[in-house]
């Protein structure tokens, strides 16, 4: 299930500078360029994704996030985006700091490990969850950190990061119905708009 995160457009100023860390095939940047005429750049290391970006005319920089972002100056972007990548990085907390050093605002999305499917999978099967959102075995998964949105918010508090907006995404019955009641249990993807 691919969640639509087009709503983040309301958090991004037209014609602003946007850096997308781990931009995949460049769809989001292409859409932001079309809708908001942003000046966007994506960072990516997967050759096929890079080719897709080139074919779309999206600015793509081949650079490994795990090797640092020192080449980007302080506050050189209006928004730094990172979708579904935080959980794959060696030091997520340091990358969060980098996001808000480079960008005046950050937008981060990640899979919520507090979702009932992952909880019941681990509780009842006694095995690490393999779900549609987290579709890897424990030994080959790129997702090396598992955390819930509550963990993320605790980290933000600890590092003095302001949460400007948050949006919880889910799909299907009963999740969409029950999410307002117990968000951590019924949120698949958490989306945060951050500032320092």
């Amino acid at each position: 299930m691919k969640h639509n995160i087009d709503f983040i457009e309301q958090w991004i100023e037209p014609e602003s500078r946007v850096l997308d860390l781990g931009c995949g095939d460049g769809s989001l940047l292409a859409s932001l360029r079309e809708q908001l005429n942003v000046l966007g750049y994506g960072l990516e290391i997967d050759p096929e994704s890079i080719s897709s970006c080139l074919a779309k005319g999206v600015n793509i920089i081949e650079q490994d996030l795990n090797k640092g972002l020192k080449n980007f100056a302080d506050q050189s972007f209006d928004t730094v985006l990172m979708t579904q990548t935080l959980q794959t990085l060696r030091y997520p907390h340091l990358v969060l700091d980098e996001i808000l050093r480079i960008g005046s605002k950050g937008i981060v999305t990640f899979p919520n490990f507090g979702h009932w499917r992952t909880r019941t999978y681990l509780s009842f099967r006694g095995r690490m969850p393999v779900t549609k959102q987290l579709s890897y075995q424990w030994y080959d998964t790129p997702n090396i950190h598992f955390f819930t949105y509550a963990d993320f918010e605790a980290l933000c508090k600890q590092r003095n990061i302001n949460i400007l907006h948050r949006q919880f995404l889910t799909h299907g019955f009963p999740d969409t119905l029950l999410r307002p009641v117990w968000p951590n249990l019924f949120t698949e993807i958490a989306v945060y708009h951050l500032s320092r």
Binding site: R17, L39, Y41, P47, I50, S51, C53, L54, A55, K56, G57, V58, N59, I60, I61, E62, Q63, N71, F72, A73, S76
Partner: protein, 391 residues
């Protein structure tokens, strides 16, 4: 007989086929960066593909130190194609079915355009060592005069590797409205001290040849073959990587063996290879051109007149950029390409940067590589779509 013909046809398929160079005498005076004016100059060039009716699909290919105008296709009497045939031709990354591609032998070189082997109109003898010093911007100015001759007002892209990439960057600053894209491959905003050191060793090798005659060897009916061959051997080592030399030659012997109790000479494969490359090069390249163009490389410094600030320099550019580097290139290392990319991002310019894995060193930009071909092809194909969509 039929066998020979079919072999030839096989060679030509998928390429530009047989091509012929063209020659033009540019009658407009060209004021060089050093102040000297060339009242007129000759340019030899090749074109591939067809210029569209709006003249919006022209790509300029800029050659490097030892390159020339013959970038693609075959000459009737030669078995090897042009130097960038892997990348230029029908259906290739620089697609002659979609673009009109221009490649010119630059002044100061030695393949027919005005250079040290040309006659100096003031003396009636070859310029030799008296050919005025050149800068990359002089090549660009001369290319602009050819552009006028071809009735092209804006390049869809200026593309080049190494010194060719330097020309593409210079175009973007000097004539920002005359190019849509700059493709800068295995290049640098300026040479390092190590780069300059290697170039000086090469020049010293040439000048140390007794047949160099202070650069006036043509009048003396001599050619400094040995010095030029040595210069090329030095350069060639810096264009390859340690890994590749290890894989290709290792410590293999061509002659003799290293058993004890033998006095016969021994020759490593790499020695034989380098000697062959040096000799081959000195048969077709001019020693004065080599000195002239290596100095041009040394002098190049993109941001010199912008307070040495690359961001200030690139703020003048209007085109989009594609920057490409190769992992094992230590002559123009990936760090140099990252510096270009970072400066472009900081200047708010549209840029993509691709870091290609290759063990072919600096020469990788000339050689087949699937990822490099795909990346360049995807980028230019998007450009061709836009041009054809606007028609």
């Amino acid at each position: 007989m039929s066998l020979e013909v079919s072999d030839k046809q096989k060679d030509l398929s998928g390429s530009m086929g047989l091509v012929k160079p063209q020659k033009v005498v540019i009658e407009q005076p060209l004021k060089l960066a050093c102040g000297v004016v060339l009242p007129s100059h000759t340019l030899v060039y090749e074109t591939y593909g067809t210029l569209n009716k709006d003249k919006t699909n022209a790509i300029l290919i800029c050659h490097a130190l030892s390159g020339n105008h013959h970038a693609a296709g075959f000459y009737e009497d030669e078995s090897k194609p042009g130097w960038w045939d892997q990348y230029i031709g029908p259906g290739k990354p620089i697609d002659s079915d979609r673009f009109f591609i221009v490649c010119v032998n630059n002044i100061g070189s030695c393949f027919g355009s005005t250079g040290p082997t040309s006659e100096n109109p003031e003396t009636g003898t070859p310029y030799g060592a008296d050919f005025p010093p050149l800068r990359a911007r002089d090549w660009m100015e001369s290319q602009r005069l050819l552009m006028e001759h071809l009735n092209i007002s804006c390049w869809a892209a200026v593309v080049g590797g190494s010194l060719g990439g330097m020309q593409a960057m210079r175009w973007s600053l000097e004539y920002p409205d005359k190019l849509q894209h700059a493709v800068v491959i295995a290049s640098s905003m300026k040479l390092t001290a190590q780069n300059i050191a290697f170039n000086e060793i090469a020049r010293k090798a040439i000048k140390s040849d007794a047949d160099f005659c202070d650069g006036n060897y043509l009048q003396e009916n001599k050619v400094p073959y040995r010095g030029l061959a040595l210069a090329r051997m030095i350069g060639h080592v810096t264009y390859l990587s340690d890994e590749l030399m290890g894989q290709k030659f290792g410590r293999d012997l061509r002659v003799g063996d290293l058993l004890q109790g033998k006095t016969e000479p021994v020759e490593f494969q790499i020695e034989s290879y380098l000697n062959y490359q040096g000799d081959k090069f000195s048969d077709f390249f001019d020693a004065n051109s080599y000195i002239l163009i290596t100095k041009m490389l040394d002098y190049f410094d993109l941001a010199r007149e912008y307070d040495h600030d690359p961001v200030a320099a690139f703020s003048h550019a209007q085109c989009k950029f594609l920057v490409v580097s190769f992992s094992s290139d230590w002559r123009f290392s990936p760090v140099r390409s990252q510096e270009i990319t970072d400066a472009l991002i900081a200047a708010g310019k549209e840029v993509s940067y691709i870091a290609i894995d290759s063990d072919h060193g600096h020469d990788a930009f000339l050689l087949p590589n699937q990822r490099y071909q795909n990346a360049l092809g995807s980028y230019l194909s998007k450009l061709a779509d836009q041009i054809e969509g606007a028609q």
